[in-house]
Assembly symmetry: C2
Homo-oligomer: 417 residues x 2
């Protein structure tokens, strides 16, 4: 695929299809892919196909895909080796009464890759494993309270969602919130609830929506570990977003975190549906006490995809390549911003970058910027971090920066510098 260069994109087929969808699907498109979350009317609503680092929408518009299905696509869409492994397994069956040997192989692989992982358990959704992990913490400690960071996303379940619809106060009453990087707030919570806190669930770095990403401050994770040890609190790392994109051994290695349990999903199977939680041996008994089941969880198909994806991530230059491409994108965008009179910051790890304009409280600048980039074949989300995949190329970054050089002035014309 290649980007159309000559004209701004339009989205008639997306809008027509959305009109059909709105009749028979709540919100037409619900959840994180709801068009209201991107830029209504100025972004595709429906995808048609994807290959490598690109996708095409239902209007035939082609894009460099810097969202990668919100993260799962790490080697590129339709990766030949991954898809071969998937097709090979599918020919033997997809849905059984028993797991296959692949489950054992995958658990062996993950426990060998991730230092603290003495065991692994598989599911489908990120929410499946985050919710199960806090239940394991409660079972182990015989305590109720869970601490999370304000604005963090751990899934759509009632205990952690920011949306109030259909959530009972009872489902939130044992959840305590701290602001990211605020050890003082954590200390206050542990002092206020001594002996009541079962676990703390945090992402390796903070990746809220509608805001810049935040790295941990110096010493953050050492202090967290110390507090957890002192108070008997389990440290659960939700590494679903970054998964193995930053480090084949897990993002906690990048940040020097010593977790008790980790949740992974997203990129581990290059787009095929699987999630996993891993933990230390001392939590195995508690893990075994918390019932965990789903009809499709033992399907060997995404396990075949995961094994192949992890092997490629481990043995290829995919991870350093994503980091390096992301650095080029970050530096290029920050330089171009300056050139056009803006202070922009590309935050987060470079393989999962997100750009904000420094003085843009209503996010209008980033919205116009992304709208115009999207209209020129570069899919950048205005409110959610972006993803580099290993199929992206230096030419994709060049084209993106060349386009940004045209788009910053459009933002300036529309909103003022």
């Amino acid at each position: 695929m290649s980007q159309k260069n000559n004209e701004r994109y339009s989205y008639e087929n997306s809008l027509n299809l959305f009109a059909r969808a709105a009749k028979i699907i709540p919100e037409g498109i619900y959840g994180h892919q709801n068009p209201a979350f991107v830029i209504p009317g100025a972004s595709p609503y429906f995808a048609d196909r994807a290959e490598g680092g690109y996708f095409r929408d239902v209007d035939g518009n082609e894009f460099i895909d810097f969202l990668c299905g919100y993260g799962p696509v790490v080697l590129g869409h339709n990766h030949p080796e991954v898809e071969n492994a998937v097709r090979k397994q599918m020919a033997k069956g997809s849905c059984f009464n028993h797991p296959g040997e692949l489950m054992v192989q995958l658990a062996e692989k993950i426990t060998s890759l991730v230092d603290l992982a003495d065991w692994a358990i598989f599911a489908k959704n990120g929410s499946d494993v985050t919710t199960w992990a806090i239940r394991v913490a409660r079972e182990f400690t015989n305590r109720k309270k869970i601490i999370m960071a304000k604005g963090a996303y751990h899934g759509a379940h009632a205990w952690c969602t920011d949306y109030p619809g259909g959530v009972l106060p009872e489902e939130k009453e044992n959840i305590l919130a701290m602001n990211w990087n605020r050890i003082d707030e954590l200390e206050k919570l542990t002092a206020t609830h001594p002996g009541d806190i079962a676990g703390i669930i945090l992402t390796p770095y903070h990746h809220p929506t509608f805001a810049a990403q935040e790295m941990p401050v110096d010493g953050f994770w050492k202090k967290i570990r110390k507090i957890c040890d002192r108070e008997g609190i389990l440290l659960i790392i939700d590494d679903i977003r970054a998964c193995f994109r930053l480090d084949i051994h897990g993002s906690h290695e990048v940040f020097g975190i010593k977790p008790d349990m980790i949740c992974f999903a997203k990129a581990m199977a290059n787009g095929h549906p699987i999630s996993t939680a891993v933990g230390r041996d001392r939590y195995r008994e508690a893990a075994e006490a918390v019932f965990f089941a789903g009809t499709f969880w033992f399907s060997p198909v995404p396990m075949a995809a995961a094994l192949t994806t992890l092997n490629i991530l481990e043995t290829s230059d995919a991870i350093p390549k994503m980091k390096q491409l992301g650095m080029r994108l970050k530096n290029g965008l920050e330089d171009l911003g300056k050139k056009h009179g803006y202070n922009v910051t590309v935050s987060g790890p470079s393989a999962l970058p997100y750009m904000t304009f420094d003085d843009d409280p209503d996010l209008y600048h980033i919205q116009v910027f992304c709208r115009e980039m999207i209209a020129r074949g570069i899919f950048l989300h205005p409110h959610h971090n972006w993803f580099i995949c290993a199929a992206h190329t230096d030419a994709d970054i060049d084209y993106t920066l060349k386009t940004a050089d045209k788009v910053f002035p459009i933002v300036a014309r529309e909103l003022g510098a």
Copy 2:
């Protein structure tokens, strides 16, 4: 595939693989596929491949598959039309930033098939949709309490699981339980909690584990509907187990139920991972208020499988065929039981039958019966209902009954008639 006829099966490879699994996976195999739930040591633990109505385990033992992956496999494993649709979609991509047209087509299909369905919403797990449905009921009614039947399975989430591990009292305190078919108990609950009950979630018929299935008594569903209307309670039908196996328009049509919402999963995509909830227009606003999202939920791959599966179920003789094969199995087993001095009952709809010995409180008789059937190539679960699929044949039923004729006397020798 065909059954080996000459010898009892053994499971060395399963046991060896389980020893590997037990080192690095909690319980080795957790959840519903935990070997402890079937017959430890006397049943395969790991599957190798499957085709049509048969599967092969990792020891090379071949079985008539009367569990069908716990229900999803309805047309037979590796069904050519379904798998072609899946492969065709996979070649275009599996994981996108946006849904595809297939989501709209599938919602249109389901809302046209299911009478009450003015809208449909998709997820991965059965638990995803049952939990979301009760949240919609709470949102709509602004009430907290949910009634369910004792022993019913609505997924692994804290509110509905029977297992206490990691479950807080707060997560159960708004769940009320009635015994199946006991309208008097429901009346008592509504009298005790007037104006507090948001919804009642029930399966179309009762399919507990470790017990015979129970059909609704005469007038049950009419009375339920009347009580729901009188009290302003939403009636949610959990049709995940039977799904479209009994009726292409939903099991509620078989039983004359008038639900407000229905949850489907299992058989709708012949083994590919997808679940759905449907509802009436009056609940759309509440549905839109309850956030619902999962990374992999908009994947068009299982949607392609679902569209093809539903089309085949609608236009072929699959559903009457499963019913008729199930009737032959039911009548045959009950007759053979009598011949060998047992009263056995095959309960439930004939396409999802389950056999119990009438005087078998510890389930030893059904365990020995299933163990010996399994050892002869017929996979029957001792504690969970069975599934007929459209790939099963009259010859499979003949062989099953011929084998049962040999196995009943073995049960008698081991346990007495």
